[in-house]
């Protein structure tokens, strides 16, 4: 059951990454054509656009969701590769715990950064 659950979340995280990376590409690289997300006549990395996104609760949430999805997807993939080296049962458990701790730690740090920059931008 555990492997079925982990694999399903791996697939789900992949779909989330696909959607949000698509959004990232649209905003950062093809918005000069689309003209949907940035101020007219400006670049995506102009200060005004950066601050607009930083003030947006929508973008703050997407950063956190994308971070969670990318961390889970990447770390589960790394776990799969490491497990192919055929470690013993104890080492497998240790690797799973280590990767979970690393993932949760990085997710906490990234969430704090997204939340803090959201608050800073709104204070400006």
């Amino acid at each position: 059951m555990r492997d079925q659950r982990l694999w399903t979340w791996h697939v789900r995280a992949g779909v989330v990454i696909l959607v949000f990376l698509g959004l990232h590409m649209a905003i950062m690289h093809i918005d000069t054509v689309l003209g949907l997300f940035n101020r007219p006549g400006t670049e995506a990395i102009d200060w005004s656009n950066v601050i607009d996104r930083a003030r947006s609760a929508f973008f703050m949430v997407t950063y956190v969701v994308l971070l969670g999805a990318a961390l889970f997807h990447g770390l589960y993939g790394l776990r799969t590769i490491l497990f192919e080296l055929n470690p013993g049962a104890g080492l497998k458990k240790g690797l799973s715990v280590l990767l979970t701790v690393v993932g949760v730690g990085l997710f906490g740090l990234g969430t704090w950064v997204a939340w803090a920059s959201f608050g800073l931008a709104r204070a400006l």
Partner: protein
């Protein structure tokens, strides 16, 4: 392909190993005259008859049906009976037992782990109506389209070539391997079967299809043209849909109604009673 008229002699390099006498496997080289239509199995038989009487391997039907003579021939898992010498493109034939299995002796692999994994996945029709299974009253109805969903997987002869080619099975002994997984899918996809939940107890864990990273070697080497890699991907999809509660539950096929209004012609005897 080597032209048959260019081939007069075949060099057989055969891996020998007797655990009772040898510390490690060794290679033996023998020369045999080529005869038209010679398969690797023919060559091995000739070797045993003339030069190496102690050479051991498994074979039975010599026509690619029984799945006994899976061997590692010139770097690829194949059926010895189904492999023409001329197909190999060289006059040197290297024969070893299937990799990823222990060797019992010479070219005889220990396939017990494969059949244990196969058995654990319940490769048979499971239904709730035990009375009908024990004393059948008719045939279960199945359309041609429903048959197509699993037909190719039922051509598997359990030769173990796919298991020998699988890089995941080589490194993870808990992984069931392509043959048992493809056979589990074969029954999960069969509309007469209702055993998905029972098989899921094994498939959802470490023995399931999750470690497969789609190298596709199992499908490439299968001598019967079965596509176990496809079965494994289809099984993953079923299990993901099952976890998301999106899998369409189905009732197992009912017993088909007997055709009405048909009379037996005179002189045609009754069919014998079912023996199973």
């Amino acid at each position: 392909m080597v032209a048959t008229n260019a081939l007069s002699e075949v060099i057989f390099r055969v891996r020998r190993f007797d655990p009772a006498a040898d510390a490690a496997p060794r290679w033996e080289e023998h020369r045999l005259p080529y005869t038209l239509g010679m398969t690797v199995l023919d060559g091995l038989k000739r070797l045993k008859e003339t030069i190496a009487p102690g050479l051991a391997w498994r074979s039975s039907c010599r026509m690619g049906v029984c799945g006994s003579c899976g061997m590692f021939i010139n770097g690829r898992a194949r059926l010895a009976c189904n492999t023409q010498i001329t197909e190999l493109g060289t006059h040197v034939v290297m024969v070893a037992p299937l990799p990823n299995f222990d060797t019992i002796r010479d070219l005889v692999p220990d396939l017990v782990p494969m059949f244990d994994a196969h058995q654990a996945l319940m490769p048979y029709v499971i239904r709730g109506d035990r009375d009908e299974m024990t004393i059948p009253t008719g045939e279960f109805a199945q359309s041609a389209h429903e048959l197509e969903q699993f037909l190719q997987f039922s051509y598997c002869i359990r030769c173990g070539c796919c298991m020998a080619a699988c890089p995941t099975y080589a490194t993870d002994p808990r992984y069931s391997g392509p043959m048992p997984l493809a056979q589990a899918h074969r029954y999960n996809a069969d509309t007469r079967d209702d055993g998905f939940s029972a098989r899921r107890t094994v498939l959802a864990g470490e023995a399931g299809p999750w470690r497969c990273h789609y190298a596709g070697e199992c499908s490439r080497v299968c001598p019967k043209g079965v596509d176990p890699a496809k079965a494994i991907q289809l099984m993953k999809r079923e299990l993901v849909l099952d976890y998301l509660r999106l899998r369409r539950e189905r009732c197992p096929a009912e017993v088909a109604a007997k055709p009405a209004g048909i009379k037996r012609r005179d002189g045609i005897p009754e069919a014998p009673k079912p023996t199973i």
